[in-house]
């Protein structure tokens, strides 16, 4: 098992290099890297444009810029004043030495920017994931146990509605119902946007209260999908021979359900959740945007429209590492759930 994990980790290294090169080339060809320097209705022009391209190193060939991103430029000299002779020592250390660079837009270290947003995203996404798993399991198992009962039909109907709901529609619908109309009617309500009320301050109670609607938005759609998945897996397992054997042995329905049915049905569900966990760090762009939640999805989007390469690379590499990591974790989890699976 230990050797298996080490082998998987070593395999991940070339994969991450390949990802970084592809992503780097894509971002470099994605738009005007100086767009964030422009004013209200325009572009950076003339002398300012020439100067900034030189100062930001954008006049260097693409492979050179990648190398600087990877291993830094403190071992070489750069031409900062445009007189044609490189005479200023570089200051970047590169990603391999832990320097993700500095944002072109905010002039902040990328690591700090991600560090500011990650807790918000994890708070939102992780809580939502728990809600999703709990409710999806509950509804899925209930539906499977009472196949074609009235509540199975009800959940089936609701999940089709939930699953086909576009995120913006659901989010704004919740905002209007719980944030605008309930408030107007003088009933208990949920806030529309943000993490807290400015007049109260950022207390845990305020944050929890403000989390309700975004989590509902994230959860409703995923619960709809996952509960269907769990239901069909449970049903498939229920018709297996070993289930009949278990029943004929006279085991209790409860034991059959949890020990025999759920454990076997859980395998594909764990795959699904394992994939999810890797992407939790990425946040949820649309939900974060509508609810003004300061998470990673918005950080990525805000800096994508401004072609801010260091930030985009930092976020994408972080997500890549996390996805690779959680896939390995998922594979290892299999051995707990299915004794037939052994890794060597």
């Amino acid at each position: 098992m230990g050797r298996y994990i080490i082998r998987r980790l070593l395999q991940a290294i070339p994969l991450l290099f390949l990802i970084s090169i592809i992503v780097f080339v894509l971002i470099m060809n994605m738009g005007d890297p100086l767009v964030s320097f422009a004013g209200r209705n325009g572009q950076v022009k003339g002398k300012d444009r020439e100067r900034l391209i030189r100062q930001l190193g954008l006049d260097q060939p693409l492979y050179m810029q990648y190398i600087v991103w990877l291993i830094g430029n403190d071992w070489m000299k750069i031409d900062a004043n445009g007189d044609g002779t490189p005479d200023t020592p570089g200051e970047r250390r590169g990603v391999l030495r832990g320097d993700l660079g500095t944002s072109v837009v905010t002039k902040q270290p990328v690591l700090k920017m991600i560090g500011d947003r990650l807790p918000n995203t994890l708070l939102l996404m992780f809580t939502a994931e728990i809600v999703i798993i709990v409710f999806a399991l509950l509804l899925g198992i209930l539906s499977a146990v009472g196949q074609y009962s009235w509540y199975d039909n009800l959940f089936t109907g609701l999940s089709f509605v939930g699953f086909s709901m576009p995120v913006p529609l659901l989010a704004l619908g919740l905002i209007y119902i719980f944030g605008v109309y309930l408030k107007r009617a003088g009933l208990p309500y949920f806030p529309t946007v943000g993490m807290f009320e400015p007049s109260v301050g950022k207390t845990p109670e305020q944050v929890l209260w403000h989390m309700a609607l975004p989590i509902a938005t994230l959860a409703i759609i995923s619960i709809a999908a996952y509960s269907r998945f769990i239901r069909s897996n449970m049903l498939e397992v229920s018709s297996q021979d070993y289930m009949r054997t278990a029943r004929s042995k006279g085991l209790s329905e409860r034991l059959i359900l949890f020990k025999h049915a759920l454990k076997n049905a859980a395998l594909p569900i764990v795959t699904l959740i394992g994939l999810d966990l890797g992407f939790l760090l990425a946040g949820a762009l649309v939900t974060e945007t509508i609810f003004s939640w300061p998470g990673m999805g918005r950080l990525f989007y805000d800096h994508a429209v401004k072609s801010d390469l260091p930030v985009l690379m930092g976020i994408l590499m972080l997500i890549s590492v996390s996805v690779v990591f959680f896939q390995i974790v998922t594979d290892v989890t299999y051995t707990f759930l299915d004794p037939r699976i052994r890794y060597h």
């Binding site: 300012d48 002039k107 807790p119 918000n120 992780f126 809580t127 400015p198 966990l277 805000d302 759930l337």
Partner: protein, 596 residues
Amino acid sequence: MNCVFSKRNLMLLALGAIIALMAACAPAVAPTTAPPTAAPAQPTAAPAQPTAAPAQPTAVPAQPTSAPSTGGKVISIAYTQEPNNLSPLYTNQWFTANLFDLFLANALITFNDKNEPLPWIAQEIPSIENGGISADGKVITFKLRDDVKWSDGVPLTADDYVFTWQMVMSDKNTVTSRDPFDSVVDKVEATDPHTLVVTFKEPYAPWMTTIFSRVNSSVALPKHILEPVFQKDGTLDNAEWNRAPTVGVGPFLFKEWETGSHLTFQANPDFWMGKPKADQIFFRIVPDDAAQLAAIKAGDVDIGVFISPSDVPELEKLGTVDIAKVQSGYKESWYFNMSADEATKGHPALQDANVRRAIVMAVDRDKIDQELLYGLTKPALTFWDGMAQADPNIEPIKYDPEGAKKLLDDAGWKVGADGIREKDGEKLKLRYLTTTREVRKNTQAIVQQAWKAVGIDADLVTHPSDVFFNSFGDKGPVATGQYDVAQWSNSPKFPDPDTVDWLCSEIPSEANPPGNNWEFICDKDLDALFQQQARTVDAKARTELFFQIQKMIADKVYWVSIWDDPDLWTISKKLTDVKFSGATPFWNAYQWDKTQ
């Protein structure tokens, strides 16, 4: 309870712990790359506590309330874009520049809600009469107020402005723009602590909006804070002050910025015009327009920004907010491609002023504004409407389809067999370009019908705005002349009337790819007038020149407005004395008040 189930739970808890650990690690690394200061109390602690929440939900309410209650009169403003940073050196962004009026309000001149100049840190507006401007127009002397202090008690002096000029021009700083300091300014000197002298290479009229002005974000930096940083780091690029300008000079001081969430500014009790009436200004970043609208309706924000005209009727019905229509200098306009050069050539009919006039007469622009913009605005008469230089005597071109037909007949464009006019075998078919914005596409459709009625055919083309506005060098469709009539919104260096868009020298070409004259108009008389006004420092004489310019543009139909394009804000009825200026919206924030 079943053992498998609890094992799964354990797994999830373990995963949760790993994620929480990763989250906790990231902020902890940050201080090694950025020296910590007292500055933005980054709430690493606050979110970290609730992160643990999912695992142990009971723990949350038990957490002590660490964030202090702010209280007082808080005015909250919805901002659809987040500031890039808070240093005037490093951003030109409209959303950020507005904030300088709160914490860095040290522009020499500011502009009021009528967009009139007011002396601000300068004791009076320099002119030739009061000796502030030299007779040759090349030297401007500013007498600065001597009662203004930075929030740490250090006086604001002319040295701060000189230092700012040095930082703008330093090769060590990747500043956003050096314009116009690198082109027209010879030197900036402090002859005594409260006298600032700016020497120009040639007489320069638009100084009010470009020299230490809020309009182009050239306000002054605190020398006593930033000079040591520059000496130590060799650059201001990484200065902590760029993100946490804890020392300021305005009515409100920077307090906190939680990225993606909000910025707060606290009243400055020592503000030189007296303590502001509000205690705090709170900017909530609300990137989604529909969510902003909901927050306005719920009363969760006091001021809303960039409201769409289509939302105005509903907001007016609410009764809780006022709509502020603020002149921004922008005018939605028609531009004609007058190029005769083969590569950038426009339709030959456009060379005739009467044809251009007929094209405009055929369209009922008032009706477009009524239907598409809910009557909130109407066609501007001149490019300078709403400014001191606007000529009130310019006659609008009236909607007159019969007159248009006659003008076209007289110009030799006769109706052909298919109902489209033609001359010498060439059809009067115009390529009409605009961006993909909904209201623009709708305008195109209405105009196409109106033109059809007088025998003009239109080929409607739309491009996304990033493509549409590309320069000649980047092969933009308008800049390379691939159009006949184009529609977009533009403004002079508002509130200064200067613009370079009609200069012959700005015609884009292989030799001049960044050129701004996308109509390819080169009228020697107009060119001379534009060059002359830019050197005329006497305000009255300059206005005279602009009257001549406007008459020429109107007579020759070089430019026509479809609608004036004001900024729309919502202001809660709880607020008083909020008087936005189009140029410097928050100029009077110290007077804003809120009733409960």
